[in-house]
Amino acid sequence: MALILIYKLGDDLYGLEIDAIQEIIENPVLHYVPRAEGVLTGSINFHGQILAVIDLPALLDFAVAQRDHRHLVLTPDYRSLVLTTSGVERIVNLEMELLQAPPEGYDRPAVRGVIDYDETTINLLDTDEVIKQLEEIFAE
């Protein structure tokens, strides 16, 4: 059993283990970062720390997607990134034994595995893939 935060990216449901989440914050004061890439929306002051806010739908190429006013602050294990989603849903308790590898030719980006819950499919976010993509972008 594991607690998973379900959120939306575009029209798809994604999930993230809450162990990776430091806190969910609402309407932070967003500071503009000059000459930043499109995926870097800005920076926030989180309890005295300057954290980068990443536009996850933009990073994962969700063309049409709304942005939630709630943001996920990841733990320092995940570089203390702040992720913007299309909408924070809720926290559910999932049987991680039911987690399956994404099928061959699965077109959703950054998916570590899929799990069926309540007649829907939840894509578990591959945080390593996200960090990798970010590193690729910012390395250039």
Binding site: E23, I24, E26, V88
Partner: protein, 424 residues
């Protein structure tokens, strides 16, 4: 010295005898004459003396007779210009008397003819004047006759026109009576209209009052609806607040769950509480959403009611205006009907006056008609008299002309007498 003819013959004879005696006595003293011829000589001398005296005497006598004869001839021919002159006036005789008598006769004849001629002249000129005057008078009389004819015709036309006038005035009187009765009808209608308009005005006024009352009530309802909608909006605001609190609660529950998870086994109970709180927050959100949608639908209906109310108020307003206008129209109708009634009444009065005036006019025209008829008759009499006068004038002119002609011929006759010696 007057010597009568017989004495003149005697005196001549005596002279012849005396001369014979004297010659007889003187012959012896005459030488050269033989005594035998002395007798012959004295006879011869006596004869010579006798012949001389006789011839002288008879010549004078016959000359006087011839003059007298020629004077008589002259007088017979009408020449009274010369007096008769006889010669040998040293010893006038009967021829002189005859000449004197003829001269006296001629003088009296001359004066008579002169008088006649003067009178004839005067008569001619008078008769000419008379003729001219009578012609003028005749012409004047004809003119008068013609004028009288015209007057007569004019009088006839006048009579016709008067008749026509009478007819027209009678028609006019009838028309005036019709107008009077129409005016009466109009006045009655105006009265009826006035009454109807007054009751209509009252009805319009009462309906206006009702509309005003309803309008006031509707305005009150509209205000209540506005207040109600404002209250609903307040509810909406409260619901928003509740919704915000629920979301905050939801977020807090999420973060509490995360914190509880981080606390591991110790946080399990807290996680359950957090889940319950989240459920409550969700329920609250759902309820708030329901309230919001309920408020929204109520608000929508309220808006509809408000707009319906506004429409009703608008319609009421236009109804009120219409009623106002109706009331004004009725007032106008009332005023007009009053005006119409008073005008119709005055028309009726005026037409009554007109009727009496027209009747008086008709009487006057009848009088005129009679006068005109009398005039026509009189004019015809005048015309007849004038024609008679004209005829008399013509006769008189004819007579004057005849008189003139007669005086002219008399003058011609008198002119045959020559009273003055010609100047040539």
């Amino acid at each position: 010295m007057r010597i009568e003819i017989s004495y003149k013959f005697i005196i001549g004879f005596i002279v012849v005898v005396v001369s014979g005696i004297l010659v007889n006595l003187a012959v012896p003293y005459i030488k050269g004459i033989e005594p035998e011829f002395r007798q012959v000589f004295s006879i011869f001398c006596s004869l010579v003396v006798g012949l001389i005296i006789g011839s002288a005497f008879s010549r004078a006598f016959t000359g006087n007779i011839r003059r007298l004869t020629s004077a008589g001839d002259r007088i017979r021919q009408g020449d009274l210009s010369e007096d008769v002159e006889v010669g040998g006036s040293r010893f006038p005789d009967e021829t002189s008397d005859l000449a004197k008598a003829m001269n006296q006769f001629q003088a009296s004849l001359r004066s008579l003819v002169g008088d006649i001629r003067n009178i004839a002249f005067r008569v001619a000129s008078s008769s000419q004047n008379l003729s001219g005057t009578s012609q003028e008078m005749s012409a004047s009389a004809q003119e008068v006759a013609r004028t009288t004819d015209q007057i007569s015709k004019g009088a006839e036309t006048q009579a016709e026109m008067v008749e026509e006038s009478t007819r027209l005035f009678k028609e006019l009187a009838i028309s005036i009576k019709l107008v009077a009765s129409s005016a009466k009808t109009v006045a009655d209608s105006a009265d009826l209209t006035l009454e109807t308009a007054r009751s209509g005005s009252d009805m319009a006024g009462s309906s206006l009052d009702s509309i005003r009352q309803v309008l006031t009530e509707a305005e009150g309802s509209g205000q209540q609806m506005v207040n109600f909608i404002a209250q609903l909006q307040k509810i909406s605001k409260f619901v928003e607040v509740i919704n915000g609190i629920a979301q905050k609660t939801n977020l807090l529950a999420l973060n509490a769950t995360i914190e509880a998870a981080r606390a591991g086994e110790y946080g399990h109970g807290f996680a359950v509480v957090a889940e319950e709180i989240r459920k409550l927050a969700d329920t609250t959100t759902t309820s708030a959403d329901e309230i919001t949608s309920l408020v929204e639908s109520i608000e929508k209906e309220g808006q509809q009611v408000k707009s319906s109310m506004a429409q009703v108020i608008d319609e009421m307003e236009s109804g009120r205006e219409a009623a106002d206008r109706t009331n004004q129209a009725f007032s106008e109708i009332t005023r007009n009907a009053e005006g119409t009634r008073s005008k119709a009444s005055s028309i009726a009065e005026l037409t009554e006056q007109q009727t009496s005036s027209a009747e008086r006019i008709i009487r006057a025209i009848d009088e005129i008609d009679r006068v005109v008829s009398d005039n026509a008759a009189a004019t015809e009499q005048v015309s007849a008299a004038t024609q008679e006068q004209s005829a008399a004038m013509e006769e008189m002119a004819q007579s004057a002309k005849e008189l003139s002609n007669m005086s002219e011929s008399m003058l011609q006759i008198v002119k045959q007498f020559k009273l003055v010696k010609d100047q040539d």
